[in-house]
């Protein structure tokens, strides 16, 4: 074999190995989710195939006893408000900062910039008291307000994008008698669509996956979102790995579907989000 062929083999071997490392833990969970209680008890090991590949019993248990329906409903409610709020706030901020010159403009930009450096986990001790004093503790509004109010990344995504919209569009509309709000609503906002798509996807996935904020702010059982509801599986289903696995699969499945159908946007969105 030539050196090149050896290198090539090594490349593919490493890729296959990485694929196994990523997929094996997930695959085993999928297998486990189809196993019956009896199969779990006999000593066949984690890698054995379930007897019945269409055994949905665990899924039913997970969905009903785990209160996954209300969890999905709560998550959807939070997603709807948090994501649309983020889009509105981000695009308004970007419009004001990019299209106007005003006093303290630099100060405003600096405030948003410095805020990106503050890791959200650190300030929760104090944020908690504040949210509590607003009476939002243990309501769905606490995470909504926090997701909306602390998302600076999406402001950046909008800012980057709004620069590419020619100012001449604003100006010709102004000559036609449009005021700033009409320009924002009728010209800027519609042209921001690609940026909006990016923000919706990135924010949507982040909110869907977040555990820390709902865990801290919504201890009530009926306010569980998918993260916290799944986390509660730890108690009642402690040794029932088949039910926990089914719950985990139920949570991962929507992400997988979103990923497969929106791949391109997702890569771009997370790249823009991280490099700010």
């Amino acid at each position: 074999m030539t050196r090149r062929a050896v290198a090539r083999t090594f490349v593919y071997l490493s890729l296959v190995l990485a694929t196994v490392v990523v997929l094996l833990p997930l695959g085993v969970i999928v297998l486990t989710s189809f196993k019956s209680e009896r199969e779990m008890a006999d000593d066949s090991g984690a890698l054995s195939l379930p007897g019945d590949l269409l055994n949905l019993h665990n899924y039913v248990t997970a969905f009903q006893d785990g209160e996954m329906l209300s969890a999905f409903a709560n998550t959807a409610f939070i997603l709807l408000f948090a994501v649309s709020g983020t889009v509105l706030i981000g695009s308004m901020t970007a419009y004001a900062i990019d299209r106007f010159t005003f006093r303290f403009r630099k100060l405003v930009i600096a405030l948003f910039l410095v805020a990106t450096l503050v890791p959200g986990v650190t300030t929760q001790v104090a944020t908690f008291r504040l949210v509590n004093s607003f009476g939002m503790f243990d309501t769905l509004w606490a995470p909504i307000a926090l997701y909306m109010g602390t998302d600076i990344v999406s402001i950046y995504i909008f800012l980057q994008f709004i620069r590419s919209i020619p100012v001449s569009l604003d100006e010709s509309a102004r000559l036609d008698g449009a005021n700033a709000f009409t320009i924002y609503r009728k010209i800027i906002f519609p042209l921001l669509k690609p940026a909006i798509a990016t923000v919706v996807i990135v924010k949507g996935i982040t909110v869907y996956n977040d555990f820390y904020i709902p865990f801290l702010y919504m201890p009530s059982e009926d306010l569980g979102v998918i993260s916290t509801s799944l986390f509660r599986f730890k108690g009642p289903f402690a040794a029932h790995w088949e039910t926990i696995s089914a719950g985990a699969v139920l949570v991962i499945l929507p992400t997988l579907i979103a990923f497969l159908s929106l791949q391109r946007f997702i890569y771009n969105g997370f790249m823009k989000g991280a490099t700010r």
């Binding site: 997929l23 090991g45 308004m92 790995w241």
Partner: protein
Amino acid sequence: MTDTTEAGPTGRSAARRKEPPPAPATGTPGPPPAPRGTRLWRGVTPWLFLIAPLALLLTFTYAPIANMVAYSFTDWDGVSPELHYTGAGNYTELLTRPELFEVFFVSGYYLAASALQIVAALYFATILSFNVRFRNFFKGVLFFPYLINGVAIGFVFLYFFQDGGTLDSVLSLFGVHTDHAWLGTPTSANISLAGVSVWRYMGLNFVLFLGAIQSVPGELYEAAELDGANRWHQFRYIIAPGIKPVLSLSVILSISGSLSVFEIPYIMTGGATGTETFVIQTVKLAFQFNKTGLASAAAVVLLLIVLAATWVQRRLVPDDRVDLV
């Protein structure tokens, strides 16, 4: 310190604006000088757009920071109306009580793991930037863990490390029979958890690197190949300089990430067997032991470390990142 971080980005943003500022409030070009009311209205307009965002920013980012700093000098328990000023007492306690300080050693595991993670991400980004079969499939597989819900990942790996779980079963396929409790001792548990964090986060680094590599024009590789450069040379002289900004960004993200690890260890071990991280400790201090003062001091320390790390990184790698504000 704050001064330099503020001055840098702001100055840069001003320099980077290509177009002249559109329609200044004084409105010199175009229409004749507007009447006084209109001028006033124009000065107010941007603030109408900014009022809600700024209110949220101040309420949920700056007010908590200010409160946190204030609490950190008191012995407040978070509930009672009474609180006493204790000076730097909380900070002294934090730095002198060894059991409070130990959590920083746990961060060491995650820091080491993120070094490994960056190297692995670089490797995969490099090989997948060349022509490889099933490239999109591999790219998707490597990135997907980053999108998965943290609680689900926690459960997946609890089963993975469980006695007779995935890892033990795989090992026994290779004839290795072990009854090692992977999450049973502090060292083993921390290594396992750090491994999970590599599994979860490598995808993001990988996609960032891949994006940076692919933005290098293809002719460069062809030219290099004509000059007899091998893959290593191509990496060393073309890819490496091209991804320097993203690399430094990844380093800073891993430093602040390893200090603020929370989800994985909290979900998987709850901080037991020596896996307690800084954030878990802070959350416990604040919400279980009602030591708001001490917890605030801890949070301030973490915030300062993260800011310092960011500042050092900006010093070392002068900011020439693309597409910034």
